[in-house]
C-alpha cells in the first residue's frame, strides 16, 4: 500500500488491523486506537481519499490502495489550515482525538469548502472527543474554511466565490469495515 505517498510492501497476518499496521509496523503513531468498535474515530485515516476508521479495516484490505494519515497534513513545515484552525481556536486539549478529527475535517472542506455549522457537526458526529465539548472543534473547522476562502480570494481575484455548500451528505462515506 501507499501511505502518505510512500510505498510499503509487507507480508502481514490476515487479521492485522490497519491501525495496528500503521502504528506498530510503520511507526506512524499519530493515529490512535480508542475503542475497537468504530465509535470513537481516534483512528480515522483516509483510504483512497475517504475517511475510514482504521480499527475496523484490515491492513490487507488496503492492499494496493492509498492511505493518508495525520502525519501527511502539514507540508514543507507549513501546517494545513485545519491544523492552524485547531491551534487558533483551542480545538484540542489532550490531543488524542485530534488527528482523526482533523482528517475528517480536511475531507469535509475538500468537498464542502463552506460548510454550515450543522454540516460540520454532522461530519464530525461519528467521532468522540472527551475534552472539548465539540464547540471549539466546530470553530476550528470554520476557521479553516474561512481561511481557505480568504486564500482563494487573494489567489484567484475575480474568480468568484467558492461554490455553494452542499446540503445533506456531509458525513464521510466510509465507516470502516
Amino acid at each position: 500500500m501507499t501511505v502518505n505517498g510512500v510505498s510499503h510492501t509487507r507480508d502481514v497476518e490476515a487479521r492485522l488491523l490497519l491501525i495496528h499496521f500503521l502504528r506498530d509496523d510503520l511507526g506512524l503513531t499519530g493515529s490512535h486506537w480508542g475503542c475497537d468498535t468504530s465509535n470513537c474515530g481516534a483512528c480515522v485515516v483516509w483510504l483512497d481519499e475517504t475517511p475510514v476508521k482504521s480499527c475496523t479495516v484490515l491492513a490487507a484490505m488496503a492492499d494496493g490502495r492509498r492511505v493518508r494519515t495525520v502525519e501527511d497534513l502539514a507540508h514543507g513545515g507549513r501546517l494545513d489550515p485545519v491544523q492552524q484552525g485547531f491551534a487558533e481556536c483551542h480545538g484540542l486539549q489532550c490531543g488524542f482525538c485530534t488527528p482523526g478529527m482533523m482528517m475528517t475535517a480536511r475531507w469535509l472542506l475538500d468537498h464542502h469548502p463552506d460548510p454550515s455549522t450543522e454540516q460540520i457537526r454532522e461530519a464530525l458526529s461519528g467521532q468522540l472527543c472527551r475534552c472539548t465539548g465539540y464547540e471549539n472543534i466546530v470553530r476550528s473547522v470554520r476557521w479553516a474554511s474561512e481561511y481557505e476562502a480568504s486564500e482563494r480570494g487573494t489567489g484567484r481575484r475575480g474568480a468568484g466565490q467558492p461554490g455553494p455548500a452542499a446540503g445533506a451528505g456531509a458525513r464521510p462515506a466510509g465507516e470502516g469495515g
Partner: protein, 792 residues
C-alpha cells in the same frame, strides 16, 4: 482580571495559544501506546467472565506452550512474591490477580507476556480457569440483607458487605429545624454509575534494568509521584530506583488516578523476562474494570418556611463501592467531599449520613471530574431546591435568589464545616439569567404549554471546594497533599519550571509558563515547563480534583516570587543601590524614583552567573524551590441554565441551549478556562441524557463498549453559551480557583431540572438519570426505570 491589569507584573495572562498543540497537531504526541523500547514484549490480561465465583484451578500449560509466549503470571505466582494484593487509595486492598475468588465481571485473573500484541491475546484463550459460580450481589439496596453472600471474605472479620458508616453535620440541630419547618419535601434519587471513559485507555510500559536495578514505568497516571511511592510500598522496591513517567495522557477525568493491576503485572512481567513489557487495555477492559464514578443512592429532605426560606437539609446515602473500596480521595473522607452538599445556600442546619457497601461490580467511585463527590452533593441539593420550588409554587430562580449566600457573608462557614472563601452568588445568577433571557424563556414556555408543547428551563447553582488540600486535613495514603515546584533561571534569562502535577489536556505547559512569565517579566515562550517525570520533578500529589492551579499553580507563583526576591539582591549589587530602594515595575527591578535605572530578569541572571561580586545571601544563581501547602480549598461556583424541548410521546429530549456562568477567580488563560468548561458541560449532558454503566442480575456489565455506553457527540451538544464573573480567591497568591471539574459537577442537574420542568404539566416530579427517551417515557407512565440494575 485584576492581576492581569497590574502593571507591576508582566501581563502574560490572556488567551495565549497552547505550546502543547505543536506536537499533537502533527501526530507527534507521545502517548503510552506510542512508546517502543528495544526488545519490548506485550502483555494481556485474562479477565473473569463471572461476577462472583470461586477459582478452583488455573491451567496455564497450553498458554505457556504457545511459541510466542514468554511468561504467564497467575495470582498464585504473585502470592508467592506477596504481590497478589495491593492497597487501594481508601485503606482497603484489591486483588492484583485473583487467587481465591473473582468478585466482579472483568476482574484480573492472569497475565500473559508475549512477543507481540496479538499473540498475547491469543494465549489468553489457551488458559483454562475452572470457576464455581457464587450468588451475585448487584443491587446495592440488597447488599446488607442478612442473606446476601459475603463478597469480601478475604478480609478478616468481615461478615457482611458493609464498608463504612460516616456522617457530617449537626443531627440534633437539623432535626429541630425540620420540626419547626412549615414545609418538608423529600425525594429518593439515584446518581447512577458512570464511567469517565477517557479516549485513551489505561496502559503502561514497564522496564526493569537488570544491571542497575532501576525500574522505569511509563504509565497513564494522573499522579506519578504518588504512584512511585505506591510501587515502592507494594513491590518492596527502593523508591530511588523507581522512575514513573506520565507522558502525553489522552484524558484522565479521574480514571487515571488509581493504581491498576495491569501496571503491576507489566512490572512483574518485566522483572520476570528481563525485557520491557507494554500493557494497554482495550475499551471494554477500560469500561468494565477501571475506576467508575458515582453510584450514589440518595434520599434527600429539605425544610423551609411557607414563604420560601430554606432552613435545613438532610441526606441519607447508600454508596455502592463495588467489590473493592478503591475510591481515590483524601483519606479522612470516606464519602469524599459530599458533605459540602448544602451547596450555595444560607441554611441553619444540615446533616448527612453515608453508608458504603460492597457489590459484585468494578471498584472505584471517586472519578469523572466529581471534585471528590461534590458532583453528587450538588445534584442532591439542586434537585431538592427545584422540588421545593414546585411544592411552594415558586419560580426556581426566585427561590434560589432568595436563599443564595450573600457577598457580605464571606468567608462563610457552612453547616458541615467548610469555609467558603469568596463569592458574589446573586451576581452570577443574574448574569446567567440575563444571558439566557430568562423572563422571555418563561413567557415562551407558557405559550408553548398552552399549545401542548413541552419546553423546560432548568437551573443549577453550584459551589465546589477544590484544590486539595491543606496537609493537616488532607492526605492520600498518608502523603500530604502539598505540591513542590522548582524554578531554574539560565544565564540568558530562559526559565525552566518543574512541577509535580502533569497535564492530561489541561494545557499546563502553557498556563504554568504564563504564571512564571507574569511574575518575572518574561514571555511565556521563555519558560519551559517540565512535568510528568518523577526523576525530573519535585514531589507532589498530581492532577485531579481541580487541584493543579490551586496547589501547583500557587507553588509556581511562590517559587517565581522567590526568584524575584533573589534577583532583587543581585540587581541591587548591579545598580549599586540598596535592595530596599528597588521596586518591581514593568517587569524589572528599578531604582525607586529613577526608573531609568533598572534591570530585567535576563540581565540579572547573566550577572548572577558572571564575575559580579555578589552580596551576602546570594550563592550565585537565581534558582529556587518551594513546597506549597494550601491554607484552604478554593471555592469556584457558577450558575447554569439549560433549555430543553421534550416530546412526551417518545420521551426524546432535545437540548436547545445551555448557558454557563462560571466564577473561578482570576483566569490565567481564559481560552483554556472556557475549553475546560465546554468539556465539562458535554460530560454533564452525557451523564444526564445517556451515559450509564448498568448491570444485569448476574452481574454482567451492560456498558462494556462504546456501542452500549453512549457518549455525547457533536450532534447532542449545543453551542455552549458562556459567561463569567471574577471574584478573586483571597488566599491563593494570584487569586485563582480551580475550574477543571466545575461544569461536570454543575451541569447534569440543570438538564434534569429542565426535563422535569418541561414535563411537570404531565405530573412528573422526578426522574433519575440518564434521561434516555425510554427512561423519560417510562417515568411519564409512572413506571420509572432503575438505572443501576436491569431486572429479568
Amino acid at each position: 482580571m485584576s492581576a492581569a491589569a497590574d502593571p507591576a507584573h508582566g501581563g502574560a495572562y490572556g488567551p495565549v495559544r497552547r505550546k502543547e498543540d505543536a506536537r499533537f497537531l502533527r501526530g507527534q504526541g507521545t502517548f503510552v501506546d506510542d512508546i517502543r523500547r528495544p526488545g519490548m514484549l506485550h502483555g494481556a490480561i485474562l479477565r473473569s467472565p463471572l461476577a462472583h465465583a470461586r477459582i478452583l484451578s488455573v491451567d496455564t500449560a497450553a498458554a505457556l506452550a504457545h511459541p510466542r509466549v514468554r511468561a504467564v503470571i497467575t495470582g498464585e505466582m504473585l502470592q508467592q512474591r506477596k504481590l497478589a494484593w495491593m492497597p487501594t487509595l481508601s485503606h482497603d486492598v484489591q486483588a492484583v490477580l485473583a487467587t481465591d475468588k473473582v468478585r466482579f465481571q472483568g476482574q484480573e485473573v492472569a497475565f500473559v507476556v508475549a512477543e507481540d500484541r496479538y499473540s498475547a491475546r491469543d494465549a489468553l484463550e489457551l488458559i483454562g480457569v475452572e470457576y464455581e459460580p457464587l450468588p451475585v450481589v448487584v443491587d446495592a439496596t440488597r447488599a446488607l440483607d442478612p442473606a446476601a453472600p459475603v463478597i469480601r471474605d478475604d478480609v478478616a472479620g468481615q461478615r457482611d458487605n458493609h464498608i463504612f458508616d460516616w456522617s457530617a453535620g449537626d443531627r440534633a440541630a437539623t432535626d429541630a429545624a425540620f420540626a419547626a419547618a412549615d414545609v418538608v419535601v423529600t425525594q429518593d434519587m439515584l446518581y447512577p454509575r458512570s464511567h469517565p471513559a477517557p479516549l485513551e485507555t489505561c496502559g503502561a510500559v514497564a522496564e526493569m534494568d537488570p544491571v542497575t536495578g532501576k525500574l522505569t514505568v511509563w504509565a497513564t497516571t494522573q499522579a506519578p509521584h504518588a504512584h512511585r511511592t505506591l510501587y515502592a510500598l507494594v513491590a518492596g522496591l527502593p523508591e530511588h530506583k523507581i522512575r514513573i513517567v506520565s507522558p502525553d495522557i489522552g484524558g484522565g477525568f479521574g480514571n487515571k488516578v488509581p493504581m491498576y493491576p495491569g501496571y503491576l503485572c507489566a512490572v512483574v512481567g518485566s522483572i520476570m523476562t528481563g525485557q520491557p513489557v507494554k500493557w494497554v487495555e482495550d475499551r471494554s477492559e477500560n469500561l468494565m474494570s477501571t475506576a467508575f464514578a458515582r453510584d450514589y443512592h440518595m434520599h434527600g429532605e429539605i425544610a423551609a418556611t411557607r414563604d420560601g426560606r430554606i432552613l435545613a437539609l438532610r441526606a441519607r446515602v447508600l454508596a455502592d463501592h463495588g467489590a473493592f473500596n478503591g475510591s481515590a480521595q483524601p483519606s479522612k473522607y470516606p464519602a469524599g467531599f459530599f458533605h459540602i452538599f448544602t451547596g450555595s445556600y444560607d441554611l441553619q442546619a444540615a446533616y448527612c449520613e453515608v453508608t458504603g457497601v460492597y457489590t459484585n461490580k468494578a471498584p472505584g467511585g471517586v472519578a469523572y471530574s466529581c471534585s471528590f463527590r461534590i458532583a453528587e452533593g450538588v445534584y442532591l441539593v439542586e434537585r431538592m431546591v427545584d422540588l421545593l420550588a414546585a411544592e411552594l409554587g415558586q419560580d426556581p430562580a426566585d427561590l434560589r435568589m432568595a436563599n443564595l449566600l450573600r457577598p457580605e457573608q464571606f468567608p462563610y462557614t457552612c453547616p458541615t464545616g467548610w469555609e467558603y472563601d469568596s463569592g458574589d452568588y446573586p451576581r452570577a445568577l443574574h448574569v446567567a439569567m440575563d444571558l439566557a433571557g430568562y423572563p422571555e424563556l418563561r413567557r415562551e414556555q407558557a405559550e408553548k404549554r398552552a399549545r401542548g408543547e413541552y419546553m423546560g428551563i432548568g437551573l443549577s447553582f453550584f459551589t465546589e471546594g477544590v484544590g486539595a488540600g491543606p496537609r493537616k486535613d488532607m492526605d492520600i495514603l498518608g502523603l500530604g497533599m502539598a505540591d513542590g515546584a522548582d524554578l531554574r533561571i539560565y544565564p540568558t534569562g530562559a526559565a525552566v519550571l518543574s512541577i509535580s502535577c502533569q497535564t492530561q489536556g489541561q494545557g499546563h505547559e502553557t498556563t504554568f509558563a504564563q504564571i512564571v512569565a507574569h511574575e518575572l517579566g518574561l514571555s511565556p515562550d521563555d519558560v519551559e515547563v517540565v512535568h510528568g517525570d518523577t526523576d525530573r520533578t519535585p514531589f507532589g500529589l498530581g492532577t485531579y480534583g481541580s487541584r493543579s492551579t490551586p496547589v501547583s499553580g500557587a507553588a509556581a507563583v511562590v517559587v517565581a516570587r522567590k526568584v524575584r526576591e533573589r534577583a532583587r539582591v543581585v540587581a541591587a549589587a548591579m545598580l549599586e543601590a540598596a535592595p530596599e530602594d528597588l521596586e518591581w515595575a514593568r517587569g524589572r527591578w528599578q531604582v525607586r524614583g529613577d526608573p531609568e535605572q533598572g534591570r530585567t530578569i535576563a540581565e540579572i541572571a547573566m550577572a548572577a552567573h558572571s564575575s559580579l561580586e555578589l552580596p551576602d545571601g546570594v550563592e550565585g544563581h537565581l534558582d529556587a524551590e518551594t513546597v506549597y501547602n494550601p491554607p484552604n480549598l478554593t471555592y469556584p461556583y457558577g450558575a447554569y441554565i439549560c433549555v430543553v424541548d421534550v416530546d412526551p410521546g417518545t420521551g426524546a429530549v432535545a437540548l436547545r441551549r445551555f448557558i454557563a456562568v462560571d466564577d473561578c477567580g482570576v483566569r490565567i488563560n481564559p481560552m483554556i478556562v472556557e475549553g475546560q468548561v465546554h468539556g465539562g458541560l458535554a460530560d454533564g449532558v452525557g451523564m444526564a441524557l445517556m451515559q450509564v454503566i448498568t448491570y444485569d442480575q448476574d452481574g454482567n456489565c451492560l456498558g462494556g463498549s462504546f456501542m452500549d455506553y453512549l457518549l455525547p457527540t457533536s450532534l447532542e451538544c449545543p453551542s455552549w453559551e458562556l459567561g463569567e464573573t471574577v471574584t478573586p480567591c483571597p488566599h491563593h497568591p494570584i487569586g485563582a480557583k480551580g475550574v477543571g471539574e466545575s461544569a461536570t459537577v454543575g451541569s447534569p442537574v440543570a438538564v434534569v431540572n429542565a426535563v422535569v420542568d418541561a414535563l411537570r404539566p404531565l405530573g412528573l416530579r422526578h426522574a433519575d438519570m440518564p434521561l434516555t427517551p425510554a427512561n423519560v417515557w417510562s417515568a411519564l407512565q409512572g413506571r420509572p426505570v432503575r438505572a443501576d440494575v436491569v431486572s429479568g
